[in-house]
Symmetry: C2
Subunit: 357 residues, 2 copies
């Protein structure tokens, strides 16, 4: 594989580093020469240069310049060139680049780090990477990009560009805006702000956590995906109006129906990361004393059991938690037995177990 | 201390067990005789019996029967009696029990476990326990209940009953309803449901996690606190309409203002649990390989550093995480040094550090 990466921020540098670590020849460039130089120093690229006229070019610039940069590369390239990008919204970019050699993409992985210093060759291992080929995209170009993405360890999901944008509006963009809105609603409480913050327990913390992240990418996302975000916000608002009606009307049946359906859907949400073929979720009550997390995770490590996911499942109130681990089902029995022998109360549930509604 | 607990579910049994573990004489009862017997077997209560006419009586029945049960106990009790309850909504209960000996309360701790078998004497250690004395409540009664709550290790927050209800509507009830609504919005996607769930990454999981919990308590909460929940839902809806306007109007400045204010507020949210006098938040990039969590938590344990909070701070996209630990500031330097020497990238930030808006 021979690749050229334009835009050496965190994602671009991680793509470059990941491809080099897997044997590819990788060059790169950035509008900021110091950043390109740093990427070279760190080994993310073999050398700084201009895009070649064939091979694969990954455009990892900010979303607002993808059309211009990719358009120029496509105009200058030969038939042997393939171009992909990594922007989080796909409809407009796909529409403006009707070229058989262009395969729009969106790796759903990121990090709080920024720039080439945060680059990680394994950033995309187990991540979902959406490819949104257009009616112009050739099978050969698609297949080349798919191979590169797979080489990086990501799981490819193929969707039409507009459908991608609708889906990320529902599972990423609108939830993010809702988290910020909930946080601001609490923070703007005119009185008793300190008491309010003391009452803000685990459930609230979970719901607003993403609001703590950097806001830098959101203006571009909201501009580029307004066509999908606005109707999704409308649907959210309409449903909250329904919930308001249910609460105001003391419609207990309606409330239970809403909450039970949400509960079943949430519990059937696939686990994060690269799950084992069949995962089992363990739930442990965790007392608040030093060393508990170390004991639990070390017990898993001693048995050679990889923990695919870990989270403290707060109840909607209170500081107590239930520790949730996801491990391979084949290994779950041993770990449960060992933990119980150490005095933990452990419940185990195979993932994908569908609960009755 | 001599206490009697009515209602031996998880909370009642944990109060009983916790008080006995701290030297109190504790009796109890439950409408279900088998449950009372089980609580006695487990040592949560010394014996099953009726409420005495003095001492402290903790009414831990379902919210819907608190007024009846506490009213009967107060009617039958002497001047030496003190009664408190544990229901999650306080206004109506406080209004219907105008008695100098009654101190309404709300321990903000729970667990996914149910019944006396899930009882834990330390369930309330470090938890916020709100007391909402009324204008009828005597200082002596308040002081008795406060001492019992403190004995259990909880932090007392004192609020007027209606104010308590308004605050929990904003930080607990409305967020819970919003989580269920977001989850149902995603689950009801008419097409591509599987793709949607594959695209649902860390941020979405965090936001909807509380929707996975039991829905059993919510009909009572929504009925009892409708007066506070409905206006809080109205405020949330109004703000989401504002956000809709910002996105539809491509108001980038308005969006950045919203997100930045939410970000600062979220980062200044006090840490969960019983924090050290001054906590420091460590943020580590965690590679997805077996044993990492064990290594990090064991490193802390080796140094005798207690981890007050742990969470994987997902970015809004992707399966990669940043592990967030909260430890005592005095111990943070050692732990950071040790982790860096093991090759981790660690950022440390003292909590309460106020970022510029």
């Amino acid at each position: 594989v021979r690749a050229h990466v334009i835009g050496l921020g965190l994602v671009g540098s991680s793509v470059a580093l990941g491809l080099r670590a897997r044997g590819a020849e990788v060059t790169g460039e950035d509008v900021d020469p110091a950043r390109a130089e740093r990427a070279e120093e760190l080994g993310a690229i073999a050398s700084v240069g201009r895009a070649p006229d064939d091979g694969i070019v990954v455009v990892a610039t900010p979303a607002s310049s993808v059309v211009e940069v990719a358009g120029r590369v496509l105009a200058e390239g030969t038939e042997g060139l393939v171009v992909t990008d990594v922007a989080g919204v796909k409809g407009q970019i796909a529409a403006e680049l009707p070229d058989s050699r262009f395969v729009p993409g969106h790796p759903m992985a990121g990090s709080e780090q920024e720039g080439p210093d945060g680059a990680d060759p394994d950033l995309f291992v187990g991540a979902t990477w959406v490819l949104t080929p257009t009616r112009h995209t050739s099978e050969a170009a698609f297949s080349t990009v798919k191979d590169v993405v797979s080489l990086l360890g990501a799981d490819v999901v193929v969707l039409p560009p507009d459908r991608h944008d609708e889906l990320v509006a529902v599972v990423s963009h609108v939830p993010h805006l809702a988290a910020a809105t909930l946080m601001s609603l609490a923070a703007d409480s005119p009185v008793d702000r300190e008491a309010l913050m003391r009452l803000a327990a685990g459930g609230f913390r979970d719901m607003t956590r993403i609001a703590a992240g950097s806001s830098a990418i959101w203006p571009d996302i909201c501009r580029d995906n307004a066509a999908a975000i606005v109707p999704a916000l409308d649907r959210l608002i309409a449903r909250l109006e329904d919930v308001r009606g249910i609460v105001a009307g003391a419609d207990q049946g309606g409330l239970v129906t809403l909450l039970e359906r949400a509960r079943v859907a949430r519990r059937n949400l696939p686990a994060r990361g690269a799950p084992p073929p069949q995962g089992t979720e363990l739930r442990l009550v965790v007392p608040d004393r030093p060393g508990v997390l170390a004991e639990v995770t070390s017990t898993a490590a001693e048995l050679g059991v990889n923990i695919y996911d870990i989270e403290i499942a707060h109840s909607s109130e209170g500081p107590r938690g239930v520790l949730v681990l996801v491990v391979a089902s084949g290994a779950a029995g041993d770990l449960v037995g060992r933990l119980r022998s150490k005095g933990y109360r452990v419940a185990a549930m195979a993932e994908g177990t569908v609960e009755a509604t």
